[in-house]
């Protein structure tokens, strides 16, 4: 062996040994939805680029939330990356439980993240979780039924128009409900919808002194309008309908309109799953002319728990999974309609993506949602369909149970609002806000 060959071999061996030494195995807790599962299929691309391998722990949303919350609050160290939402990111960031993502590479182009997303995942201007995909809510409606009803859907309708259109599209004999909305108890289910809707009616959860405001007219108007419209034009048993139940109804042609997550647009326009794929139109979530619409803002984002021993590898994964290159990788293999939406401005600037029928309306919905200014009257909290305080999930779950009891006809609007007022004020007092 010549000296040159010897040197080359030694270098090659050192590189291999070096790579092996720095290659980490990352454990990632994530939620089970189409985009996340798709990402798992591309993990080999990340491993090929960095040498790091990945173990996935995929759980149902509520189980995941409980699991990662237990782990991060006890410093269990079971996960190197956690999939969290817009509710957790600012709270956990403020508590010092997450590694700040303030040193991402220049190629990553952090400024390309939509400002609404970056804002909702930050605390005091520091980003604590990178959005994998983002969503707002919007109206999905049947263009054929709207036409048959002799009405035209405006791009930005009012609630009065929606109620009128829903009544006109309802055809009980043919099992067509004019409108399908979430009524299921749970702060992330029916609770999220009614909170976002209440913003457009001028309601808010708390006044500036953290007092509950369910005793005001705005909440009463919201609930009475919702219940009245759903009784006229909604499906039977809507009190137990969540995202999946309404998706199923819409895909089977049993809803004239559905107001829900923008991410549903790709499901209802997919001809493999939806019987109405070729007759779906989109519009902004309704308002009442008070200056706020009833759409929400949400992101599933990747965060690194503080104390992880694999911070560098974890950040490398986050840069890969939420990068422009990842979006292009998915588009090249599965088409632009299947890329994770709602996180980056560059996606919406892409002429290819602009051809996707729901792209512009998704962006418009996201841009019209501001978590820092979500209510007509001033409020002390950040968040649109939630208030980003640790106590909110527990309180809102209880309150949404009271509201679902109204939808099921088990109590009146006034009774539910009185209970909601008491539940919220008691909890806020116990937590030291009042």
């Amino acid at each position: 062996m010549t000296f040159k060959a010897y040197l080359a071999s030694a270098t090659a061996v050192s590189i291999c040994v070096g790579s092996a030494a720095f290659a980490e195995q990352l454990t990632i807790a994530t939620v089970n939805n189409g985009d996340m599962i798709r990402m798992q299929g591309y993990t080999d691309d990340f491993t090929a680029k960095t040498g790091h391998t990945v173990e996935w722990v995929t759980l149902e949303e509520n189980v995941l939330r409980q699991r990662v919350t237990t782990d991060i609050t006890t410093k269990g160290g079971q996960f190197d990356i956690m999939t969290i939402g817009m509710y957790e990111a600012p709270i956990w960031g403020a508590n010092g439980w997450l590694v700040p993502l303030d040193d991402l590479s220049a190629e990553y182009d952090v400024d390309d993240i939509l400002p609404a997303m970056a804002g909702g995942l930050s605390h005091d201007g520091t980003l604590y979780a990178a959005p994998f995909y983002g969503e707002s809510s919007m109206i999905m409606y049947r263009t054929d039924l709207m036409e048959a009803a002799g009405m035209d859907m405006p791009d930005a309708p009012t609630w009065d128009f929606i109620r009128e259109a829903a009544a006109a599209m309802t055809d009980r004999d043919n099992e067509i409900n004019g409108i399908c909305l979430r009524g299921k108890a749970g702060w992330g289910e029916g609770g999220a919808f009614i909170t976002a809707m209440s913003n457009s009616f001028g309601a808010r959860w708390f006044d500036e002194d953290w007092n509950a405001t369910f005793d005001g007219d705005a909440w009463k108007n919201t609930l009475e309008f919702f219940v009245g419209m759903m009784n006229e034009s909604g499906p039977a048993g809507y009190a137990t309908n969540g995202f999946n139940e309404n998706l199923s109804l819409f895909q089977q042609g049993k809803c004239g309109m559905w107001i829900d997550a923008t991410v549903a647009a790709s499901f209802v326009t997919n001809p493999n799953d939806s019987t109405v794929a070729d007759s779906v139109g989109f519009a902004l979530a309704p308002d009442t002319g008070l200056g706020k619409r009833s759409n929400w803002l949400w992101a599933w984002a990747l965060a690194v728990p503080a104390g992880t021993q694999k911070e560098a590898a974890a950040k490398a994964f986050i840069e890969w999974a939420t990068s422009k290159e990842y979006i292009e990788l998915v588009a090249a293999n599965e088409g632009w309609a299947n890329v994770p939406p709602g996180a980056r401005q560059s996606l919406y600037d892409n002429p290819e993506y602009q051809k996707v029928p729901f792209a512009q309306m998704t962006l418009d919905s996201i841009l019209s949602a501001d978590p820092n200014d979500s209510t007509v009257e001033p409020s002390p909290y950040v968040g649109i369909q939630f208030a980003a305080i640790p106590e909110f999930a527990g309180i809102a779950t209880e309150v949404s149970q009271e509201f679902s009891a109204v939808y099921a006809g088990q109590q009146s609007v006034d009774e539910a609002l009185a209970k909601a007022q008491a539940i919220t004020n008691e909890a806020m007092e116990a937590a030291g806000y009042r």
Binding site: T27, E60, N62, G76, F243, V263
Partner: protein, 276 residues
């Protein structure tokens, strides 16, 4: 005098028994049927019962996405280990309560059972912290211990009930013949209580197999059993019912097969001492 049963009454009893059996089994049957449908067929309204294009696609997807054998092996170790460890501890405990009862035996038994009434989530944080300290998070050994402790009151109760049916005089006779306590339990008591012990083992194996709170909260990758496997296919935002059904069918298949082959033993054990 034996009561005469007419053939008409026999037929009615048979039909009623089958109807109840089918009603109880229907959710499992529906899950199995759904696992062979497409996602669109799975949510069809009105529901499609048998008239659909049967497909194995969901099983293929589940196999591709998840390491089923790893989850299965963890389930076998955790359910088997916790049951055997529980029986080892419970046999002497139940023996002492059945044959050497004290004034407080009944109270102790009730107290043991009352621990089952405590909501599991109430002790999640203490146990999680203990597991961190002991390095037991995401380990099969940790889960074997926790699941054993959860099921121990039931095991002790069941064994106590079976042991009470065994005449104490037989054990006394063994003692008079010079049997030690260990020999008395192993060679005299255990063989007589085999049907009861077997049904206790089977029932607790099933309970441990299905346990879905601790197995989800204390595992991540290494010790995750089939409950975690099922949870990975459940989604509130997206219709994956057919895949979820395929995953559920794969998770319950081993325990269904075990139950089918051991049903005689199970029924015999559960009715042990019921008729005197």
């Amino acid at each position: 005098m034996a009561r005469a049963v007419t053939s008409q009454r026999k037929a009615i009893n048979t039909v009623v028994a089958w109807a109840i059996g089918l009603l109880i089994f229907f959710p499992i049957l529906w899950t199995i049927l759904t696992s062979f449908k497409t996602e669109a067929q799975a949510i069809a309204s009105p529901p499609i019962f048998l008239n659909f294009d049967w497909t194995l696609e969901n099983y293929a997807v589940v196999q591709e996405r998840s390491n089923y054998m790893r989850f299965l092996w963890n389930s076998v170790i955790i359910a088997g280990g916790s049951t055997l460890l529980g029986v080892l501890i419970a046999v002497p405990a139940a023996w002492s309560m059945a044959f050497v009862p004290s004034k407080r035996t009944k109270d102790i038994l009730l107290w043991m059972l009352s621990t089952k009434m405590l909501p599991a989530v109430g002790v999640l944080y203490p146990i999680y912290l203990l597991f961190i300290q002991l390095g037991l998070l995401d380990s099969r050994a940790g889960l074997v211990i926790v699941i054993m402790l959860i099921n121990l009151p039931i095991i002790v109760w069941m064994l106590y009930t079976y042991f009470r049916e065994i005449p104490g005089e037989i054990l006394e006779a063994a003692r008079m013949d010079g049997a030690t306590l260990r020999e008395e339990i192993i060679y005299v008591l255990t063989p007589m209580a085999i049907p009861g012990i077997a049904s206790t083992i089977l029932l607790n194996f099933i309970l441990a197999w299905n346990e879905a709170f601790w197995t989800l909260n204390l595992t991540a990758v290494n010790a995750a059993p089939l409950t975690a496997f099922i949870a990975s296919y459940s989604s509130p935002e997206g219709l994956f019912f057919a895949k979820l059904s395929a995953a559920s069918t794969m998770a319950i298949a081993p325990i269904l097969i075990l139950g089918w082959f051991s049903q005689k033993q199970l029924v015999r054990g559960l009715t042990f001492g019921a008729v005197k």
